[in-house]
Amino acid sequence: MNLVKDIKSFGFSPVSSMISSSSELFKLPYEEICKIKTEIIKENFSYHFEKNEFYRDVCKQKDVTPDDINSFEDLIKIPLIPVRTFKEANSHHLLSCKLSEIEFEMRSTGTSGIPSVSRRDSKTIDYATEGIVKMYREFFKISKGVGMFLFPPTEEMPEMGMIKVLNITAGLFDGTRNMVKKVSFNPQEAVEVLQSWEGKHVRNIVGPPFLIYKLLSYMIDNDIKIKLDKKSLIITLGGWKKFTGKEIPRNEFNALCAEYLGMNPNNVRDMYGLVEANMLAIECEQQEKHLPPWVHISVRNPRNVLEEVNPGERGVVAIYDPTSLSYPGYILTEDVGYIKTDMNCECGRVGQKLTYISRIPGVEVGCCAINLEKYIEENESKRCPDDATPEWIGV
């Protein structure tokens, strides 16, 4: 049986079928998932090999064609695109379609100021949104309650990837409130909003760790404690490093959420993603980051990225994302991490679980969250008269 061929024979999309069946796929034996992933990634690889002259040349240099991908073990042969390529002046080479077919450009800007721009066509956006919503539903089961968004409205930063992705949760909540406006965040106002929702809605907080940490620090300094609701979630994305380079300790963060927000620490859920990929790895209640079943992660030897390391060993994270049609979604990131050795999770799901460790030493510090933090710090500093510090800064 070839699932991809069978689904295509009915005129259906294999990728959409996988996304809509992800709950079932999370329950399949790992070997079965690998077989299906291989089929779907091979299909996508063939597409880019045919449509993208630049990528085809890369493949020819590596002596790889779609005919060489016949098993899960062959996936490593598929050439990867270093993520820095998305920042280069000739990034038009990455496109497997015409620019006129591109519907949306999304960006992430690091501390160098040069943005990484990902260009997506209509079908890729369909897959990306289907996949992200499905993963939110799978792991958060959001269908009601309210979301306090500790990030700016998308209209203020419409192309910033992190904001766009977090904002997708808005459609699942009964109501939301953006607490970062005009690049400024007032924690006291956030506290008041949480208090005003008490007893009316299940309250959830969504945003990058640094802003939630800022809220927590303000609550500590002012001895404010709130008890959120039994099912409240804190959903984070954007990394745990601050613009200053200081890292927010995850264990401390969880403990502070429990003490000052009255949260079950298991309901603090971090996510991993990058603007160039259409996927999010989302933490389950065991705080294990699960990859979507249609995405494969290969961890590479930092000294030779052509070599794969075993599960449990640290290395450079490479993503194989078959939902990308506008450019090959085979991305060698600048992130260090490892795949857990046990493909079975205590939460009952099966599949790859990613542990993110850090960025590769020597690469540019930067992501949407760090850039947002930088803007907010700069903006709030400018608003300070002389040396006066506003009450919410310095936390």
Partner: protein
Amino acid sequence: MYNEIISEHFMNPRNIGELESPDYIVEVSNPICGDTVHVFLNVSPNKTITALKYLAYGCSGSIATASILSEKMINQGLHALKAFSRKDIETLLGELEPSQLHCIDFGLEVLKKCAEPELHIYEKKEFLVED
């Protein structure tokens, strides 16, 4: 999303690259969205642009704008760059969506800075790297 003029220049950029020994290097950037162009100019004694290359980063519209303007700037006197109006840029870029209109301002800024170039070398910018 993008019109045919922008699409064609983005996919087939003209004058992309760096000059080996530029007389001037002009940088135009938007600190918020990050759209950036480095224009490398050779200028004759009578203030005419004799050679031009550029490297552009950011949205496709800004990159295409740099390509479109590069064709117009070569062999022009520096003073002539000041004569380009907003309307001229609008005509050169074609119909744009609201989210793409910043390309017009970006283009005007490129022309304005290239009309009075100052720097002869890259201005190295410090940025944080991972430990």
